[in-house]
């Protein structure tokens, strides 16, 4: 039987009920939201279920929505079922004051650096990660540069007068 988006959705709703929500299909990829406490349960279910078998973690990253109070940081998982060639994406939201999310390193070895990168740039604290430290930035850095409060310098600003470099 072909693994359709509707089928995946039904299986998930059967298992988790109302906890999985906001199903959409932007550009054909099934996308949904999961409460952040359930991220590992959903990952494990998608991995183990004999019909779903999403056993390849394609990508993991975070997005910062400063206006989304209480749910400022989104962590996005892209999963791939290589046998049936279906991709899905799900998101969890966490508050920026306490960005604790369970780590997926027990299930996927590749999540290790992906989570370190996400921590490095967004400050998502992956609980249970074996080696959660900065990876691309210097260790001494004390902020998370991909957050939206750190804009790239505005080219039109006038308060800086740098004659040497002809600004």
């Amino acid at each position: 039987m072909e693994l359709t988006n509707d089928h995946i959705k039904n299986r998930l709703v059967q298992k988790f009920g109302d906890e999985v929500a906001n199903f959409t299909e932007p550009y054909g990829m099934l996308t949904f939201e999961v409460p952040k406490e359930l991220n590992l349960k959903v990952l494990q279910f998608l991995y183990d279920d004999p019909e779903l078998r999403f056993q390849f973690l394609t990508d993991l990253q975070a997005v910062h929505y400063p206006d989304n109070k209480g749910k400022e940081l989104a962590v996005v998982y892209h999963l791939h079922n290589i046998r049936d060639n279906v991709r899905i994406r799900f998101k969890i939201y966490t508050a920026i004051e306490k960005p604790d999310v369970y780590t997926a390193t027990q299930l996927y070895a590749c999540a290790n650096w992906m989570e370190r990168e996400t921590y490095d740039f967004f400050g998502v604290n992956f609980v249970g990660h074996p080696n959660l430290k900065r990876i691309l930035n210097v260790d001494e850095m004390d902020y998370f540069p991909m957050r939206k409060e750190y804009p790239l310098e505005d080219q039109t600003r006038v308060d800086k007068d740098d004659e040497m470099f002809g600004r």
């Binding site: 932007p26 550009y27 990829m29 996308t31 056993q55 390849f56 973690l57 394609t58 990508d59 990253q61 997005v63 910062h64 996005v76 892209h78 290589i82 060639n85 991709r87 994406r89 996927y108 070895a109 590749c110 290790n112 650096w113 992906m114 990168e117 740039f121 900065r134 990876i135 691309l136 930035n137 210097v138 540069p145 991909m146 750190y150 804009p151 790239l152």
Partner: protein, 415 residues
């Protein structure tokens, strides 16, 4: 002995970590700039004699914050950033980025554009594999094969030069197609390459494939099972060498790859030799694809044979003479250069088969002029994590060839 060393380090004001003299193993710093690493890779190895006990990889030496920069740039200005990911096959990155934008914008490209792109992408795949495979030769002690195939990479770079004007960081193509049609010289150079390269590749293959020394050196070095490779997020030739036939070109055909006949070579053990074989065979398949695309392009007649871009004036610089004489063209020119075209809101993930694996672009747009968030799925960043596991228990010299066989590109890893 220990006291002598301690006294010496005290005199010289050297602070040694506790227990570093008493312990029986050696800590060796391989890299970050070492001729054997072919890039900025640091590995802190714990060795016992010449055997590796553990390794810790450090990355990020050339991190350039592309994802942050991309959040302020209009789509077309992000193309040069993608060049600098895997710079051995930058056209594939460029095309992958254009296709991501086209998916978001809903642009349909004409068949001829797809075929032209395939020619460029497969040429890029050949240059990428040529470098990786010949560097395995270099690290195993055979420098001549590297110099020998390098001149054919030059021929490919000349083709790029005819099409887009640059060689390594190509910034080739535009959203919707190419900025200009391939000229006669480009076709001529492609002919020359297609005629001359197979003989050289054959000779390259003969020098290494059944070479006793090369086989002894590479078989069994850094193996990984298919299951572990999947768990580590391997993609591309490295995954296929472990026996998993996953190729984005076949699984999720993009750019009309479904119109082509080609095989996906797979290995069994996932060691250095298998990776070498898979890449080598892929070059032959790439040549096959290029020939097919060439023939298909010859079959276009009339107006179709001159098409080199889709009809997307919003993203496509109009001809210069029109800019000076027509109002609309002038407006488009201005809007494109200033990057004032708003892109539709949405989120899209698109991936292409890059030189070393699945290169993915995850683009979130909130409807502004620049992406809200752009994430690159860089294949070698993901599979490099497996490196300590691959070299654990092997000899120091094996660590070097395992690293070169993974086709690691520092620019891609650090983004």
């Amino acid at each position: 002995m220990t006291e002598d060393l301690l006294q010496h380090s005290g005199e010289q004001n050297i602070k040694l970590p506790d227990g570093s003299i008493e312990k029986q193993t050696t800590t060796l710093n391989l890299g970050p700039t070492h001729p054997a690493t072919h890039g900025v890779f640091q590995n802190i190895l714990e060795i016992d004699g010449e055997r590796i006990l553990s390794a810790e990889a450090t990355v990020g030496y050339i991190h350039r914050a592309f994802e942050k920069i991309a959040e302020r740039r209009p789509l077309y200005q992000i193309t040069p950033l993608t060049d600098r990911l895997n710079y051995c096959s930058s056209p594939i990155n460029n095309m992958g980025w254009h296709m991501t934008c086209e998916k978001l914008l809903g642009v349909q490209t004409p068949k001829r554009v797809d075929y032209l792109r395939i020619i460029i992408m497969e040429l890029a795949r050949i240059t990428d594999h040529v470098i990786c495979n010949s560097v395995i030769g270099v690290d195993a002690g055979a420098l001549s094969v590297f110099l020998y195939v390098m001149q054919y990479r030059e021929l490919v770079y000349e083709i790029y030069e005819e099409i887009c004007g640059s060689r390594l960081t190509t910034n080739i193509g535009r959203i919707g197609g190419f900025e200009r049609n391939f000229n006669a010289t480009a076709w001529q150079k492609l002919d020359k390459f297609l005629n001359e390269f197979p003989a050289a590749l054959k000779e390259f293959e003969n020098l290494l494939q059944r070479n006793r020394i090369f086989i002894d050196r590479t078989v069994g070095a850094g193996p990984i099972t298919g299951e572990r490779a999947l768990n580590y997020g391997f993609t591309g030739p490295n995954l296929r060498a472990s026996g998993i036939d996953y190729d984005v070109r076949v699984h999720t055909p993009y750019c009309s790859y479904q119109d082509f006949e080609f095989n996906i070579p797979v290995g069994t053990t996932g060691d250095v030799y298998d990776r070498w074989l898979v890449r080598n065979q892929e070059m032959w398949e790439s040549l096959k694809i290029i020939r097919q695309a060439y023939e298909k392009i010859q079959q276009f007649k009339g107006e179709e044979s001159e098409v080199y871009h889709a009809n997307v004036p919003e993203y496509y610089l109009p001809p210069k003479q029109d800019v000076y004489t027509k109002m609309e063209a002038l407006i488009w020119h201005f809007k494109i250069i200033m990057g004032e075209t708003e892109i539709p809101a949405g989120e899209v993930y698109h991936s292409v088969e890059g030189g070393n694996g699945e290169l993915g672009f995850y683009l979130i747009s909130d409807g502004g002029r620049a992406p809200y968030r752009l994430h690159f799925r860089r294949p070698c960043f993901i599979y490099y994590q497996a490196y300590p596991e691959l070299i654990k228990g092997s000899m120091l010299a094996d660590a070097v060839i395992v690293m070169s066989s993974l086709n690691l590109i520092a620019g891609e890893m650090d983004a």
